[in-house]
């Protein structure tokens, strides 16, 4: 009992912000894990991170013209995804360049919006809270929007399912079998944009990227098959998030500042640590995340 009290600061389970943080963290972790497995397999980590940054730009733009920020996130996320798909070449290198160009333009817009915003109001710390966010200062009213967007992303990925997997692993075979590779890729990018945008706004762009890439990359190293990888990734993500929230709550009296350490630091450290631990395994059973996948197996399993 004493040990438990030492581990868990009293009041942890009774506090309202902690309840919301735990629930939101779990939702985001599960969605990110499922979407993240495909993101890592397709090699679109950069797009996943950029969409988070771009969506926050949309949020500040919406704030500037005085409409609900929710629409700003969605409009910018979806618009950027469409742009990337439009100018992006199918090859991996070209895709990252297209992502970079869109991100550069969006960051320029962000600079403008923040400048105009600071001229008309006093939101000096805006850029900072957009980047890092905080899972503890959520308003309960954003939770339904988060759940809806998470469901949207999950349903899209589940509906595309096997087709998406095949076209991620081997676009050529997928195209030969009559899969509209381009359209599938665009639909996935939209789902990614929706899920990443909202999670970035609620828990910060850093944490959103960490939850999207880290657990999925770890799971793809240790798990066999995509479905098991998703389950493992969801487990890792939820565990890291909850443990991070617990540690952040405990750290309130830790040195040096006595204000508590940020959640994002703990969660990121746990996720990266978990990824490094997965290296201890001698060799991955099946290198799904590597370049040469067993596309024929997927094909014949279909």
């Amino acid at each position: 009992m004493i040990v438990l009290r030492y581990l868990v600061e009293p009041g942890f389970f009774g506090s309202e912000p902690v309840h919301i943080a735990l629930a939101v963290g779990a939702i985001v972790a599960v969605t990110s894990a499922v979407v993240g497995v495909f993101t890592v397999t397709r090699g679109q980590s950069f797009a996943g991170h950029s969409l988070a940054d771009i969506a926050t730009t949309g949020g500040s733009g919406a704030f500037l013209i005085g409409i609900n920020q929710f629409w700003g996130y969605l409009a910018f996320g979806a618009g950027a995804a469409a742009f990337m798909e439009m100018i992006g070449i199918q090859r991996r290198r070209g895709r990252d360049v297209a992502t970079g160009v869109v991100l550069g333009a969006a960051l320029g817009l962000a600079a403008l919006f923040l400048y105009l915003g600071t001229q008309y109001s006093t939101t000096t710390g805006a850029s900072f809270s957009i980047l890092f966010g905080s899972i503890f200062v959520l308003t309960p009213s954003t939770v339904p929007a988060l759940i809806v967007s998470a469901l949207l992303a999950l349903v899209t990925v589940a509906a595309l399912g096997r087709v998406l997997l095949l076209s991620s692993l081997s676009p050529d075979i997928a195209a030969a079998r009559g899969v509209p590779v381009r359209a599938v890729g665009a639909a996935f990018l939209m789902a990614l944009a929706v899920s990443v945008a909202l999670s970035a706004v609620i828990i910060g762009a850093v944490l959103s990227t960490a939850l999207l890439i880290g657990p999925a990359a770890t799971a793809l190293r240790v798990a066999k098959g995509p479905v098991r990888a998703m389950a493992v990734a969801a487990g890792i993500g939820v565990a890291a998030t909850w443990l991070g929230i617990l540690l952040a709550y405990d750290s309130y009296y830790w040195p040096p500042a006595g204000r508590g350490w940020p959640v994002s630091f703990f969660v990121v450290t746990l996720i990266v640590g978990g990824y490094l631990v997965s290296y201890l395994r001698p060799r991955p059973p099946r290198a799904m995340a590597q370049e040469s996948p067993d596309a024929e197996q997927v094909c014949s399993a279909r």
Partner: protein, 354 residues
């Protein structure tokens, strides 16, 4: 606009544009745009840590950007590079969040690191930027040939004894060096857009590597000068103009490439501009004749190695300057040196789109 107060700004911006044009060209060619985003942005954590310890922020920036380069290169040994970059990046930002939460008055400084304070450059800041710019450009020039081969054709480079891993590490370190000095002046966001947009535009304009790099520098210069002038007049942030102009150049480059491709398909000798550019390039860099000690200079008959490597990486068509059967230009025409199998492997590596 060109007064003594603005002079430092113009000099610093010009130096930054040259650095960004040169390093960005390789960042785009190698497809390491994510690293170009991650290193400058993640390095701000170092500045936060340095200000916490009471050190010069340059020290923190340098330490963290080098650490980031080492982390990306180290992790990508066993994982795909985008995953390695993402994890290194979030780790750096997580540590940055921790540092910021320890010090209380950092938010304003963080804003200036992200968006830069190019209009407040002092003379003391210009000198280190210039020196660092020279060092990083010199490093790229020294590494140019192996770096080019390893960026365009990693397998061929490995076969020729150029370690891809070492090249990756070297390039990332140059990028770290370039960003640690420029970030406090122009900001991480501007540095990133200046590296990607002009270089991507230059790559669509021409298939010749040397010319593409020169064009990348020129476009970066035009972008940053126009951005400075517009920003000075309108009082809007420089990052906005640079981001927009860079993206516009990229779109224009892609449009030009598309028009040129369709014209070539229709059989017309379209690109008059390309020809005049090539003429200018020939004036500036006259083609060397092959000397006796340079047997390796040509890999395919009539196609210089760099051009072959570059065009197969970018998908541009290889134009032979000599007929294929011509004996001159082939390394040691004694037939025993190259078996037919080597020949097939090399030629397919050279011509197949990647």
């Amino acid at each position: 606009m060109f007064g003594p107060l603005m002079l430092n700004t113009w000099i610093a911006a010009t130096a930054v544009a040259v650095i960004a044009g040169v390093t960005g060209f390789f960042a785009v060619l190698r497809g390491s745009t994510f690293a170009a985003h991650a290193i400058p942005n993640g390095a701000f954590a170092g500045a936060a840590g340095a200000s916490l310890l009471g050190l010069n922020p340059f020290v923190g920036l340098a330490v963290f950007s080098v650490a980031g380069a080492l982390g990306i290169a180290g992790l990508s040994r066993r994982a795909r590079s985008d995953v390695a970059t993402a994890l290194t990046f979030v780790m750096m930002l997580g540590v940055g969040a921790l540092f910021v939460s320890w010090s209380s008055q950092y938010a304003q400084e963080a804003y200036s690191l992200l968006f830069g304070e190019v209009f407040g450059v002092s003379a003391e800041e210009v000198l280190p930027i210039g020196i660092l710019g020279l060092v990083s450009v010199a490093a790229i020039v020294v590494m140019f040939r192996p770096l080019m081969l390893s960026s365009a054709l990693p397998e061929v480079a490995e076969a020729r004894g150029v370690s891809a891993r070492r090249m990756e590490l070297g390039f990332l370190l140059v990028m770290a060096l370039a960003t640690s000095m420029t970030v406090p002046v122009v900001g991480a966001l501007l540095m990133f857009s200046l590296m990607i947009g002009p270089a991507a535009a230059a790559r669509s304009l021409t298939a010749r590597p040397g010319l593409a790099m020169a064009l990348s520098v020129v476009i970066a210069l035009v972008t940053v000068w126009a951005g400075l002038a517009l920003s000075y007049r309108s009082d809007w942030p420089l990052g906005f103009f640079v981001g927009m102009i860079g993206a516009a150049f990229f779109l224009a480059g892609r449009a030009y490439a598309a028009v040129a491709r369709s014209a070539r398909r229709a059989g017309k000798t379209f690109p008059q501009t390309a020809r005049s550019l090539r003429y200018l390039q020939l004036l500036a860099f006259p083609r060397r004749e092959q000397g006796p000690g340079e047997k390796d200079f040509r890999l395919l008959p009539g196609v210089s190695r760099w051009r072959g490597a570059y065009s197969s990486a970018t998908g541009a068509t290889i134009r032979r300057t000599r007929p294929a059967g011509c004996s001159t230009g082939w390394p040691s025409t004694s037939a025993g040196t190259w078996s037919s199998r080597t020949w097939t492997r090399f030629s397919s590596a050279m011509t197949s789109p990647r």
